[in-house]
């Protein structure tokens, strides 16, 4: 059974495809092609929500993106969406929708008491109260917070997928009404790569609501169908429907959001829900149309009070009667089209109330001819009706329009169709930094000069007649294609149609009520945020004079609709208050997005394990098989430790550390950055970027280097080897590989272009297996027969080429553990093979894979720093006690900074060791140290712990710390107060804890 207010014919809905849905738990029927709003109206449902502050009953005010009232919660649980505009929700079978911000129900909402107390809570009231007692603010605030908000956030992880894509085109035409279609046709015919985007489900824009229009002598919708067919036939044109152009960014970069599945009952598993288009367009034609403006009159917010054009849309596009008995309230001729269409559809037009002293214009005349009752020089000065408008008070205006004459006429109705003129949708133009001008004739803001490669056409350009839209659109499309460098293949001409806009009109921004403003009756400007004209006046009276202040103080235009229907009215009311021209007030910024955009679409598929690359070494799978726990080091996954069955981290690390000192450990060091440096000036280059000297390093040898930023602070360290006279291999810390290469390239290219040096990243060319421990040489001897491993032939800090486990390898005798150690580099694809060979051959030495944690302990036993852990961007080599590596005889990056006045202060933090009094107590990393314990804060701190471990080899805890003047404090007691109130006592020591002479390394 069709719904009560459904017309028996007409509209673009498919009456053969009924759809059932629920609203607030009740089942209703609609048809394919309906929006939730049209389906509700067809069922006579007007009350759909409650307002933000006063909880006044609210209905559907529009038929599009500008809807400020009918915000709906759709779906449930994890798949629910708050604050959707009923006017844009395509009806889909099984849709579950409900009202928001009301309790217990939209019909009876207890918070309506706010409306009764509205006199006490004008704009900005919260700035003036809730201050006493101060301690109660958090309680007040909790109540405010619970009352605020509109819909409810979803309750679980979103099960849907989102997509995003880059795109490029010659011409983006945004908006597929008559203007946009004409533009797409001319640009498309010229051969340009065109994207035509449309927020609606279908093409046609305003024509969908105006089926009586004629274009090129054919009915408008037939023209639309032909245009669509032609565009779809062009390979160079892509049509994106259900896609809003939400933002216009720099350099003609455009953001669009496409909705792929919300309107589908059965959502294909392989399709994302929404797609973000990140589009670079050579040219943009903005054809986004215009939005009708409401009139600001007393109690203009009741359900059943709608925009006139929306009434027309419901009748013509959806075959719905939005009421049975309508009053049309207008200030212009254009709204008579709605009166006529409604009249034709069988809606009784009780009166057309026209603010103009004398109603005239082509449509007005038609209405007169049709016998409609026209009350010109009149205004609606009051409305009645709780959950639906039921009557209006119509009163004759004074000649100046400032007041309404005494007694008016009471007219019963269930629908008020309002038109206050039109606002071009200049959002995208404004976002592109285009200027905005005021069009006095149409009393609206229109685009001025473009700031980017864009043009505006049609209604969004202030050209409201259909004929003008078509010709402007057609010309704009051609011009855009030409500007994009396309030489037109075909000629054509613009489609023709009658050109008629909505004038004449009378601008009366604040329609007088039957009481003084603010004394009863509310003239809503922003219906969503419950901002009235009296609120605007209050803000101005209190000195909030800038339009931005007015907006922020009253919150006008700050709702989910971002003031699409309210901003111009607010600006005009402000200008009237000051008695200045409207453009002098200025416009508030049009900020993206045009309509709200789903968070998920910005993430796209960059979620879960695709959020960020997890970089894996060639041996990663073997580590996983060995049960390694992994640590994130930058993007790398590195084995942290390798727990045996039943072992905790502590036990595993102790075992690994011992193995490296007692017999043999092996670790995957592939993540270390490696930079290949070639050229005749390679050594000189190193000399300039490292603090120490490099010219005399022998081929076959390695040297440790420290790299500073120009500010003198330690940036990175590592071992660099001389592979040939003009050839070096630098290693960097794992996380710093890319920044170090960038740093080197920067200096090479911009400061020292005279140096003949080339740099190439070879980090991943090699897999690196590091073996450490007294049995390292024995193991290696079993795996190679072409390298002389004797201490004399292959001393510490040298490298040799050879074959290891049958694999061509470069072996470095360097050590970060302080034990006999080799780092074996092989081509990356052999990394896993080498690891397995080492593990198998090493069995007899109880070879033990160790992770980063054991490595940290081992190096800490030796007092070796880790850049980024023991340094923090405020530490110089001198602070680290590494003067020995800082050349006094040459310049290097950062050198001059080491001689600034602050650098030799005795109280700079210096790296030292700490030994706790109790050897079993491990200082927490990040613990702060004080000289003296006070009874409470504050206590003067002298430094903090950077690294701290239990050292199995020292059989006690060890720590490294940065301490003010630390090297002068050897043996001094320091105290570390802990969060639990306990104090750890320790004494300052040398930073090398184990094998101070370094015998093991050289062994």
């Amino acid at each position: 059974m069709p719904a009560r207010f459904r017309l028996t014919e007409g509209g673009r809905i498919d009456r053969s495809k009924p759809i059932s849905f629920t609203f607030n738990g009740k089942v209703y029927q609609g048809f394919e092609g309906d929006t939730l709003a049209s389906a509700l109206l067809a069922n006579g449902v007007h009350l759909v929500g409650r307002s933000f502050k006063y909880h006044r009953p609210r209905g559907i005010m529009s038929a599009g993106a500008e809807e400020a009232n009918a915000l709906i919660q759709v779906g449930e649980g994890a798949r629910t969406d708050p604050n959707l505009r009923a006017t844009q929700i395509e009806l889909v079978d099984g849709l579950k929708a409900s009202s928001q911000n009301c309790w217990p129900s939209v019909e009876f909402d207890v918070s309506i008491v706010n409306n009764l107390a509205s006199r006490l809570i004008p704009s900005g009231f919260y700035y003036k109260t809730f201050m006493w007692p101060a301690s109660l603010w958090m309680t007040y605030e909790k109540i405010i917070r619970n009352a605020a908000g509109l819909g409810k956030a979803p309750e679980g992880p979103d099960p849907d997928k989102y997509d995003k894509t880059f795109a490029h085109c010659d011409v983006l035409v945004t908006g597929a009404g008559p203007t946009g279609l004409a533009a797409a046709l001319s640009a498309g015919r010229s051969g340009a790569r065109v994207i035509l985007s449309e927020q609606d489900a279908t093409l046609g824009g305003s024509l969908l609501s105006e089926p009586d229009q004629q274009i090129d002598g054919q009915p408008a919708l037939e023209w639309v169908a032909a245009a669509r067919a032609e565009l779809e036939g062009l390979d160079n044109v892509r049509i994106l429907t259900r896609t809003q152009t939400y933002g216009y960014f720099d350099h003609n970069f455009i953001g669009l959001m496409e909705n792929l599945t919300d309107h589908l009952k059965d959502k294909p598993a392989n399709l994302p829900r929404h797609r973000l288009w990140k589009l670079r367009a050579k040219q943009v034609v903005i054809a986004t149309g215009a939005i009708e403006r409401p009139l600001v009159f007393s109690d203009n917010d009741r359900p059943g009070i709608m925009l006139a054009s929306a009434c027309r849309t419901y009748v013509n596009r959806y075959g719905v009667k939005p009421g049975s008995k309508a009053v049309v309230f207008t200030n212009n001729d254009g709204a008579y089209a709605a009166a006529l269409d409604m009249h034709k559809a069988g809606i009784h037009i009780a009166a057309v109330v026209d603010l103009r002293a004398y109603a005239e214009g082509p449509l007005t005349e038609k209405a007169r001819d049709a016998g409609l009752r026209i009350l010109d020089g009149h205004a609606i000065t009051a409305t009645a009706g709780d959950k639906r408008v039921k009557a209006v008070q119509v009163t004759r205006l004074s000649d100046d329009g400032e007041s309404a004459k005494a007694v008016g006429e009471h007219i019963e109705c269930d629908l008020v169709a309002v038109s206050g003129g039109w606002n071009p949708t200049v959002h995208l133009h404004s976002q592109s930094r285009g200027k905005i001008l005021f069009d006095e004739a149409h009393a609206c803001f229109v685009p001025g000069d473009s700031a980017q490669a864009s043009s505006t056409a049609g209604a969004c350009n202030g050209s409201f007649g259909l004929g003008a839209c078509l010709s402007e659109g057609y010309d704009a499309g051609l011009a855009a294609a030409k500007a994009a460098g396309i030489k037109s293949r075909k000629k054509g001409s613009a489609p023709q149609a009658e050109d008629r806009d909505f004038l004449p009109a009378r601008w009366l921004w604040l329609v007088p009520g039957d009481k003084p403003l603010g004394h009863g009756g509310k003239h809503f400007v922003d219906v969503q945020n419950d901002v009235t004209a009296a609120d605007l006046h209050l803000a101005l009276r209190e000195g909030y004079r800038s339009i931005e202040h007015v907006k922020r103080y009253t919150t006008t235009g700050m709702g989910t609709d971002q003031g699409k229907t309210s901003n111009v009215n607010a600006i005009a009311i402000v200008s009237q208050y000051f008695g200045c021209p409207i453009p002098d007030v200025g416009v508030t910024t049009f900020r993206p997005p045009y309509t709200p955009v789903t968070f998920g679409v910005f993430a796209g598929r960059d979620t879960g394990d695709l959020l960020d690359p997890a970089r894996k070494t060639p041996m990663h799978a073997l580590h996983e098989q060995a049960g390694a726990a992994f640590e994130d080091v930058g993007q790398w996954k590195r084995p942290w430790y390798f727990p045996h069955e039943g072992e905790d981290m502590h036990a595993a690390v102790n075992r690994e550390v011992r193995a490296c000192r007692d017999s043999l450990g092996v670790m995957d060091a592939s993540t270390l950055g490696k930079i290949d440096i070639q050229g005749k000036d390679a050594a000189e280059f190193l000399n300039r970027v490292y603090t120490n000297a490099w010219l005399k390093l022998k081929v076959g040898s390695c040297r440790y280097g420290l790299m500073l930023g120009e500010n003198g602070m330690v940036m990175d360290d590592g071992v660099t080897s001389r592979l040939g006279e003009n050839h070096f291999l630098m290693t960097t810390t794992s996380g710093n590989a890319a920044p170090v290469l960038a740093h080197l390239e920067e200096y090479l290219q911009t400061e020292w272009p005279e140096l003949e040096v080339y740099l190439t990243s070879v980090t991943e060319q090699f897999a690196t297996v590091s073996i450490a421990g007294p049995n390292a040489r024995k193991l290696l001897a079993e795996l190679t027969d072409d390298i002389d491993l004797s201490a004399d032939a292959f001393p510490f800090m040298t490298w040799r080429n050879g074959t290891v486990a049958g694999i061509p390898a470069r072996v470095f005798r360097i050590s970060f553990t302080g034990d006999l150690s080799y780092e074996i580099n092989v081509p990356a694809s052999y990394g896993a093979a080498l690891w397995q060979a080492v593990m198998t051959t090493g069995e007899k030495y109880a070879i033990t894979p160790y992770g980063t944690e054991a490595m940290h302990v081992l190096r800490a036993e030796k007092g070796f720093i880790i850049v980024g852990q023991d340094t923090d961007g405020s530490v110089t080599p001198i602070d680290l006690g590494m003067d020995w590596i800082v050349s006094k005889t040459k310049d290097f990056v950062g050198r001059r900074s080491l001689y600034r006045s602050d650098m030799d202060k005795p109280d700079r933090k210096q790296l030292v060791g700490l030994l706790t009094d109790s050897p079993d107590t491990v200082l927490p990393e990040g613990a702060q140290l004080v000289e003296k314990i006070e009874s409470g804060p504050t206590m003067a701190m002298v430094g903090h712990v950077t690294s701290s471990y239990h050292s199995p080899n020292c059989e006690r805890s060890i720590a490294m710390a940065l301490i003010k003047g630390g090297r002068a404090r050897m043996g001094q007691k320091l105290y570390s107060p802990q969060a639990d109130g306990k104090v750890i006592t320790c004494s300052v020591s040398d930073v090398v804890f184990y094998d101070k002479e370094g015998e093991r390394t050289r062994g």
Binding site: D163, K164, T165, F166, A167, H168, R193, N270, L271, P272, R280, G604, R605, D606, D609, L610, D612, P613, A614, R615, K616, T617, P618, H620, A621, W636, D676, Q678, G679, K680, E756, Y758, T760, S761, V762, T763, E764, Q765, F766, A805, G806, I807, P808, P827, A828, S829, Y830, G831, A832, A833
Partner: protein, 208 residues
């Protein structure tokens, strides 16, 4: 030399060969790993005739000097052994599948004494092949480049980013859009999964 079977490609853990389909049906996107490409990175000054001549003597073809262009073994101008990719104003790749010619050594010899650098880098890269009618749609999801025929015709190459990995794209001379994506090995698994997910809506198959 160790047995070749001990070599593992960066995507070996995904067991792609076992997934390779005989019939790829109506999949919009085909993906495959092309393991063990030999890549030599060549640096030098193209304004130097000596450098150009030395390079040509080894490679048998002129180095491409047009930005983002390649010469391929199957084009007339190309080297018989290797494809040459322009990477920058003083940087090229020579890519070959052949195991035998020690290209890098030959180049090094030919360039002795010149301001040039020759570096083997192939071990550090994985090559992911992406082709099919929706290949361009798929790549566009992760890359800012315009892959349209009019901009990135067959034979083009470019360094850029795909998702969050730095890559080298190369478009092959093929009627269906066909690309090779060279990515550092540690990113390979991430990138493979990312592309496979992106191609999901078009239907994706692993090709041999």
């Amino acid at each position: 030399m160790v047995e070749a079977y001990l070599r593992q490609s960066p995507l070996s853990q995904l067991a792609l060969p076992s997934r390779a389909a005989e019939e790829t049906g109506d999949a919009g996107v085909l993906m495959a790993e092309r393991p063990f490409r030999r890549i030599v990175n060549l640096r030098g000054d193209p304004k130097s005739e000596a450098f150009q001549n030395a390079a040509k003597s080894v490679l048998g073809a002129e180095l491409p000097l047009t930005p983002n262009s390649t010469t391929s073994p199957n084009t007339a101008a190309a080297s018989k052994d290797a494809s040459l990719l322009w990477l920058g104003p003083d940087e090229w790749w020579a890519i070959s599948e052949d195991e035998t010619p020690p290209l890098a050594d030959k180049l090094r010899d030919a360039l002795t004494g010149q301001h040039a650098a020759v570096t083997d880098v192939g071990e550090g890269y994985s090559c992911i092949a992406v082709s099919g009618p929706n290949a361009i749609d798929t790549l566009a999801k992760g890359c800012t480049l315009d892959f349209h025929d009019s901009v990135f015709a067959p034979g083009s190459c470019a360094q850029s980013d795909m998702a969050k990995a730095a890559v080298v794209f190369r478009r092959l001379e093929d009627e269906t859009p066909s690309f090779e994506i060279y990515v550092r090995s540690s990113f390979a698994e991430y990138l493979w999964r990312w592309i496979e997910d992106a191609a999901g809506e078009y239907g994706v198959a692993v090709s041999a």
